[in-house]
């Protein structure tokens, strides 16, 4: 077991305790014959606590074992990807689908792939057009509209 696994186990124990408490006192577990709304939250919370405890106790962290979960620099691109995707979600309704997708694709190429601006612009424009066509004409999905849609479409 690594240190990270033990931390994850401890975190899950807290989560399990909280949900068992919530199931027991806020929702009421009921009886064996008549389980209440809190029964399943209690059972799964308690299950998580017991299993994590057993897991942690049975697998002590070997002394001196300190292996990082991520190698140096490995986490950079996933973190940027999460940031860019979150920004995409935030901007989607205010900017509309077309503009936000353009921004998302451009940001991905610039920050994650480190592409030059020409290729970035090309991917962003072609990608947005293709997705728009696919969603609107082939799948008839209702997309959030914004500035560009108002002006041109």
């Amino acid at each position: 077991m690594t240190i990270q696994e033990r931390r994850a186990g401890l975190f899950l124990i807290c989560l399990g305790l909280a949900s068992a408490y919530y199931g027991m006192f806020q929702l009421k577990i009921g009886t064996i014959g008549q389980p209440g709304p809190g029964a399943f939250p209690f059972i799964s919370g308690a299950g998580i606590v017991i299993l994590c405890l057993a897991w942690i106790i049975a697998n002590p962290v070997p002394a001196g074992a300190c292996q990082a979960l991520w190698e140096k620099g490995q986490l950079v691109r996933p973190v940027i990807a999460v940031a860019v995707t979150t920004a995409y979600a935030v901007l989607m309704e205010p900017l509309g689908y077309v503009l936000s997708t353009l921004v998302f694709l451009a940001a991905w190429q610039v920050f994650i792939e480190r592409e030059k601006w020409k290729k970035t612009a090309m991917i962003a424009i072609i990608g947005t057009a293709a997705m728009y066509f696919l969603f609107v004409y082939l799948l008839s999905v209702a997309l959030p509209e914004g500035l560009l849609e108002d002006l041109f479409l």
């Binding site: 994850a8 399990g16 919530y22 399943f40 998580i48 990807a81 799948l139 999905v141 209702a142």
Partner: protein, 502 residues
């Protein structure tokens, strides 16, 4: 009901132009997904669930999604053989000998035997499905709430022990899945659970959001860790036909692989991954030249590739007859049916024969399509590997994001999706597989309902699960497997400890 009459009706549905097209599309897309590393069938099916709503035909959508699942099993071997990277999890063992064959310039023979083995096993699997599913469905009609409860518990237990990763981690994921499914209104008392006053949480988490985050986004994030793409081992495929000696060495491996695959596919928690691992171990043990394994033994490609296809066909049996999804991909198909108002289970064959027989018939056709797609056209799929991840990654994200948004036309579900993606990514890093969590998430409401119904039937006595013959047997099996597995684990740990102290 006459099997042949049903199958005939099924073919008349599967052969309509629309269904034929979706069968082809599913098979092609499945092959693509299988070829591309980092995107498995479960993730793809979850990406396409929003598309499936637009089809408005449960039969067509399941024909399409099933094609993706068994198509991925075909495609997975290509990447394993040419790049030594499993295109999807069930092709991990194909990397070992397939890659060695490619190094010796026999990539063509390896690809061919994988495709032919897949075809044979896929067809064996569908034939088995055709003849076993109807009687099983009839038997399952006798199941009441207690039987279902016992069956689902047993299924989840097997899913944990067969998933290959640590059983403790698997069980923790099951409980987390149950916990996540509890969010929202309690179906019986109507009380809010874990909503913390957030209105959007009253309906609970949508499993599409959960699955797309845990499978789709987390896979993209994992792939992004590595810089640069994978390298080809060989670009030369060579002759696409196995020699007479290849045939002699692999024909029984294909037969055994088909059977192993078929039977592991039926077991809940089994499925393609377990099947291919079992087959590889079996071929190695039965081989006259076990030392060749790991150095390009063709049986080590033929057996596992046959097995993963046999399993992908037969894992439809528990879905179509009992309404129990036995692995993550099938769980996605289960979900696709539920969303369209069709409850998979023993009544499916009577109430929706078009779905039941249409899907089965389409699988015969799909296997033929896949053989053509994967044997002469294999070069085409290899081209796909040249698409850089800088394009694939954002495309996957745009699909998933729109999929979440279109569920209720609100941005909140995209945030939930991102959160699940991050959680899934961290889980993966720690060696927690998301599969059992998703299965538990989907099954938990059914388990909760059948538990409460059973207790109503018995006026509150939990003895009902043990006194009825079928549920009693299942509960006994549950205890037996649990105790047996614990005993094996404890003995293994002791032996390891003893080995360390010596």
């Amino acid at each position: 009901m006459d099997v042949f009459a049903g199958l005939f009706g099924g073919f008349s549905i599967a052969f309509t132009a629309n269904n034929l097209m979706y069968c082809f599309l599913g098979a092609a897309l499945g092959t693509a997904v299988g070829v591309l590393p980092g995107l498995g069938p479960a993730a793809t099916i979850s990406l396409l669930l929003p598309v499936v709503y637009a089809l408005h035909s449960p039969a067509t959508s399941i024909i399409f999604l099933a094609g993706i699942y068994y198509g991925a099993m075909y495609g997975g071997s290509t990447t394993s053989i040419l790049m030594r990277i499993p295109g999807e999890a069930a092709s991990v063992v194909t990397c070992i000998d397939g890659f060695e064959m490619a190094k010796k310039g026999r990539a063509g023979a390896a690809l061919a035997i994988a495709a032919i083995g897949s075809f044979v096993a896929g067809t064996v699997g569908v034939v088995g499905l055709t003849f076993m599913a109807p009687p099983l469905a009839e038997f399952a009609l006798r199941f009441g709430a207690p039987e279902y409860f016992a069956l689902m518990l047993f299924g989840l237990l097997l899913a944990v022990f067969l998933s290959g990763s640590s059983p403790v981690k698997g069980t923790i994921m099951i409980f987390l899945g149950v916990l996540l499914s509890n969010v929202g209104l309690d179906p019986i008392s109507g009380k809010e659970r874990f909503t913390f006053g957030i209105v959007a949480l009253q309906d609970g988490f949508d499993f599409v959001t959960l699955a797309m985050g845990m499978f789709g986004l987390s896979e993209v994030l994992t792939t992004l860790e590595e810089k640069g793409g994978a390298e080809f081992v060989t670009k030369k495929i060579g002759k696409l036909f196995p020699t007479a000696q290849d045939w002699a060495e692999s024909k029984w491996a294909v037969v055994r692989g088909s059977l192993v695959g078929f039977f592991t596919g039926i077991i809940p928690g089994g499925g393609a991954v377990v099947a291919s691992l079992t087959s590889y171990a079996m071929e190695q043990r039965l081989s006259k030249n076990p030392e060749e394994f790991g150095h390009g033994a063709i049986a080590g490609v033929a057996g596992p590739e046959a097995a993963n296809n046999g399993a992908s066909s037969s894992s439809f049996i528990p879905l179509l007859t009992l309404g129990i999804p036995c692995n993550a991909s099938i769980a996605m198909i289960f979900a696709a049916l539920m969303v369209q108002g069709v409850t998979p289970g023993p009544f499916l064959i009577g109430e929706h024969p078009d779905i039941f027989w249409g899907v089965i018939a389409s699988m015969y056709i799909g296997n033929v399509i896949l053989l053509i797609l994967n044997l002469p056209l294999v070069g085409l799929w290899v081209q796909l590997l040249k698409v850089p991840f800088g394009i694939m990654g954002p495309v996957i994200i745009m699909f998933t994001v729109m999929g979440c948004y279109s569920l209720a036309n609100e941005v909140f579900s995209i945030y939930v999706f991102i959160a699940f993606g991050i959680v899934g990514y961290i889980f993966r890093k720690m060696g927690f597989e998301p599969g059992p969590l998703i299965m538990a998430f989907i099954l938990a409401p059914l388990i909760e309902n059948s538990l409460r119904q059973s207790l109503l039937m018995s006026q509150g006595s939990p003895a009902i699960f043990f006194t009825r013959p079928i549920s009693g047997t299942l509960m006994a099996l549950f205890v037996l497997v649990l105790v047996g597995q614990l005993y094996i684990n404890i003995r293994k740990n002791r032996r390891q400890d003893a080995g360390q102290t010596n």
